[in-house]
């Protein structure tokens, strides 16, 4: 890291040796901090335990996808990420010495957030800690969960701190303790999947001044400077470049991390005249696996503790942040009584489907990048050979299908479309953004959605919404009290006709589309989106 990582003060254990909290979250990593912040903003008191006293060390997640940025915008961190992060949307794929093709991840304009920004995970975590502190999350650094006993209405945790152990009772336990989750192991839950027989070297390299690479994702298959393997290059803030070198299964993990050896690889890539400093080196192998269930009584898993994917496609962190986005409002609703505990079943249904999708894409990308047999390599190389000249083959090149927001198409919370919809984002999709004018000022639609349930009304007359449902009016003409869809993009992206309404969940996902909304249908859709068994006031 360019500057020393922040150190947070270790919290003393409770004097009595025992303690009770309604919601305990274990793991102050990317996902745990995001979930804690979201819960706090929904008014839920959270106690967060982390065995460390700092943020992530070294190079981990760097590619933050559009949907993740929109989630962080809802949580108040979007502008900061955009300002600090390196915005990019072009990917280039090279085969041998030449460019095979390039792609544009966000070809259309009219979105507040770009396809991706690159940003070190430790920066994001530091800002999340600040935001959690400001939102009143109780942070207990250097508290390690060493054991647990599940009970009917909660969990008892054995916690260790530098000043001694204590017992903590939790009504709800949120397990965000990462890929090696101690909670998962204590419950004896199988975490199975595939290990890939390959090793990758990560180097974070500081290059000051002019660099011959633009802010794009560059992926090489079999480049002259690293024959027979692949290489990935990304620009990060702070003059930092991230390079991933594929090494193969037979590589010697010790020898490969020697600075002189890594520097030689980097020099071969950059050329002899580019001065650089190595800031971080690590070696990884990866796996794709998940838990069978994410909700186990009063224990709920999110992030890497629940699922793990290979990094190509940036689906680990981005997937975990979407877990948090999905879980926070649901747990808050269960705790404040506006929904029954059944609502959490939908967290599991929606996020298992999303994890499956992420695992499928990650596996396919890994199979392409790391062919497991001679025939697989022959097909892979045939695709790359054909790709330079033929569009059909470009579609087959898989250097990682970059994280896209999950469409919760099969969600039990969705209602069937009412009336006709001319395409547009379907039920289950995250709401698309669009430029609007708010009282004459340029603004973005998504800034007006989320946090609570919303009813987006397109050129609709005043509509009586039930309590807990916030109307958001969008109009094709300037009109007081309505966002002006001056470009028509909002209506087009939702496929909305005048008079139509879209029910949005607190996580900005679409729950229902009603071409001719009436109060009864809206109430029914809202009831369903709250898990059906809710006590709607």
């Amino acid at each position: 890291m360019p500057q020393a990582p922040p150190r947070y003060p270790a919290a003393p254990p409770p004097a009595s040796g025992t303690d009770h909290r309604r919601v305990v979250l274990v793991g102050g990593g990317l996902v745990g901090l995001t979930l804690a912040l979201d819960l706090a903003r929904h008014g839920v008191a959270v106690t967060l335990l982390d065995e460390e006293d700092s943020v992530a060390t070294g190079s981990r997640a760097i590619c933050f996808a559009k949907r993740t940025l929109e989630i962080y915008a809802r949580l108040g961190l979007g502008p900061r990420m955009l300002e600090k992060g390196v915005t990019w949307q072009t990917g280039r794929v090279f085969h041998g010495a030449r460019e095979a093709f390039h792609f544009d991840l966000l070809p259309e304009a009219g979105h507040e957030y770009p396809a991706f920004v690159n940003l070190q995970q430790y920066h994001v975590e530091e800002w999340l800690v600040e935001a959690c502190q400001a939102a009143g999350v109780e942070l207990r650094w250097r508290h390690r969960v060493a054991g647990l006993a599940p009970e009917a209405a909660g969990v008892t945790l054995a916690v260790e701190t530098p000043q001694g152990p204590y017992t903590l009772r939790a009504d709800w336990l949120l397990a965000c303790d990462g890929a090696r989750s101690a909670i998962r192991r204590a419950l004896g839950l199988p975490f199975q999947g595939q290990v890939f027989q390959d090793r990758f070297l990560i180097a974070d390299v500081v290059i000051r001044g002019e660099v011959g690479f633009p802010a794009e994702r560059w992926f090489w298959f079999d480049p002259p400077f690293h024959p027979g393997q692949s290489v990935l290059l990304h620009k990060q803030p702070d003059d930092l470049w991230r390079i991933d070198f594929q090494l193969g299964w037979d590589a010697d993990p010790e020898a490969e991390q020697q600075p002189a050896r890594v520097a030689a690889r980097v020099r071969a890539m950059l050329g002899p005249d580019v001065p650089f400093e190595l800031e971080w080196v690590s070696l990884y192998t990866f796996r794709c696996r998940r838990l069978d269930r994410f909700v186990h009584g009063r224990v709920v898993f999110a992030g890497d503790s629940a699922h793990q994917v290979s990094p190509f496609g940036a689906r680990g962190g981005n997937g975990g942040v979407q877990d948090a986005d999905n879980l926070a409002w649901k747990l808050a609703a269960v705790l404040n009584g506006s929904a029954g505990p059944g609502l959490l079943d939908s967290y599991e249904a929606e996020r298992i489907a999303a994890a499956e999708e992420n695992i499928l894409h990650a596996m396919r990308a890994t199979d392409f990048i790391t062919p497991k047999s001679d025939h697989a390599r022959a097909y892979r190389d045939a695709v790359l050979d054909l790709a330079a000249d033929h569009a059909f083959a470009r579609a087959l090149v898989n250097s990682g299908r970059l994280s896209r927001p999950a469409v919760l198409a099969e969600s039990p919370l969705n209602s069937a479309d009412q009336g006709g919809w001319a395409g547009g984002a379907p039920a289950g999709a995250a709401a698309p953004d669009a430029p609007v004018l708010c009282e004459g000022q340029p603004d973005w639609l998504l800034r007006h959605l989320g946090g609570d349930f919303g009813l987006l009304l397109f050129d609709a007359p005043d509509f009586p919404t039930p309590p807990g449902l916030r109307p958001v009016h969008v109009a094709a003409e300037a009109r007081p009290g309505a966002l002006w869809d001056h470009s028509g993009l909002a209506a087009a992206r939702f496929g909305a006709m005048p008079g139509g309404a879209v029910l949005l969940r607190p996580d900005q996902h679409i729950a229902a589309r009603l071409a001719m909304p009436d109060p009864v249908a809206v109430r029914a859709a809202l009831e369903r989106a709250r898990g059906g068994g809710g006590l709607v006031p």
Binding site: A382, D385, L386, A393, L396
Partner: protein
Amino acid sequence: MSLDTTPRLADADAAFALLMEAHRGLDPAASRALDARLVLILANHVGDLAVLRQALALARNGLAGEDGPGLSAAR
């Protein structure tokens, strides 16, 4: 659409000869590369995953080896 296995080549001998001719002078690795390219080009021409799946099942039929899990799992 489903896989058409009726005889469709007007001059079957010429078609077979074309395939043989294409491989002439290639070493085994280059031959394999040619086959892979050809399969990809023809798969795109077919343009239908269901037909491709049937063709693969037919091609795999009777070959020794484990069951083709990929074929059913890919559904």
